[in-house]
């Protein structure tokens, strides 16, 4: 398959942290079959793991099974990635950026996931759509 004809993919995950391994596997296979670089694979895996683990860990207040939908589309020389969930309304982009110059005694334990996603992705956008959270991410692959 040539890099320009790779089909878009959709992955549905249950809200169970054990599903993250399957996500990594699917994303790795997608990047490898699309001829994407190891750096893009690293950025994509890390960003998706951070976003999806956040949803699974904090998005749900009940014990029911929920589906988190991940779409990856190749568009205009880049990747468009969407993470959609039916958890409680939460805009991760409202989170204050961490102070990465703070001395060790002032460093919080945690709070770096979205900071990393912002670093590795080129654009991020959040919307609440029909009681669902949709986080869109763009990554240039040039």
């Amino acid at each position: 398959m040539s890099p320009n004809t790779t089909e878009d993919i959709t992955v549905e995950l249950k809200n169970d942290l054990s599903e993250l391994q399957r996500l990594t596997k699917v994303v790795t296979e997608y990047c490898e079959s699309s001829g994407l670089s190891p750096q893009i694979l690293f950025a994509l895996n890390l960003s998706l793991e951070e976003v999806v683990a956040n949803v699974m860990s904090y998005g749900y207040e009940d014990e029911h099974e929920h589906l988190i939908i991940i779409r990856i589309n190749r568009k205009d020389g880049g990747l468009e990635i969407e993470v959609e969930d039916d958890g409680k309304a939460f805009n991760p982009l409202e989170q204050e950026p961490p102070d990465i110059d703070a001395p060790i005694e002032e460093r919080p334990i945690g709070g770096l996931g979205i900071h990393l996603v912002r670093h590795y992705m080129d654009a991020l956008e959040y919307r609440r759509d029909n009681d669902r959270n949709v986080l869109s991410m763009k990554k240039s692959i040039d």
Binding site: L17, L46, A53, P98, D101, I104, R107, G110, L112, G113
Partner: protein, 115 residues
């Protein structure tokens, strides 16, 4: 992820991590990592040469130990990260709270330097 206690000497603790330091990889090793390092109250050399992936959960594990040891004036020094892993560390400002070194001798020196 795998964790190996290389040396628990009187001067410092030397630990090697390898594999994927992510949610799945860490599992119960988070607790074990704290136990092997914080309880000894010695500076810690963490050899991460063979870590090929580091997610925020791994940063959490490292900063937790570094903060606890800081109370005993003991440092954490990271040895020889893969470039992808180093980018995660620097993006998070970890190079400012735990020195990153590329060879063993320099790492030993950094362990003993005052902050």
């Amino acid at each position: 992820m795998e964790m190996t206690l290389v040396n628990a000497g009187p001067e410092f603790t030397h630990i090697a991590l390898s594999g994927r330091v992510d949610l799945k990889g860490i599992g119960d090793l988070d607790w074990e990592f704290s136990r092997q390092t914080v309880t000894r109250k010695k500076p810690v050399l963490v050899d991460i040469s063979d870590v090929d992936y580091l997610a925020s959960i791994g940063l959490r594990m490292l900063v937790k130990v570094a903060k606890a040891l800081d109370k005993n004036d003991a440092k954490v020094v990271l040895l020889n990260p893969h470039p992808d892993v180093e980018e995660v560390l620097r993006t998070s400002g970890f190079d400012k709270i735990m020195p990153i070194e590329y060879d063993y001798e320099n790492a030993l020196e950094a362990l003993n330097n005052p902050s």
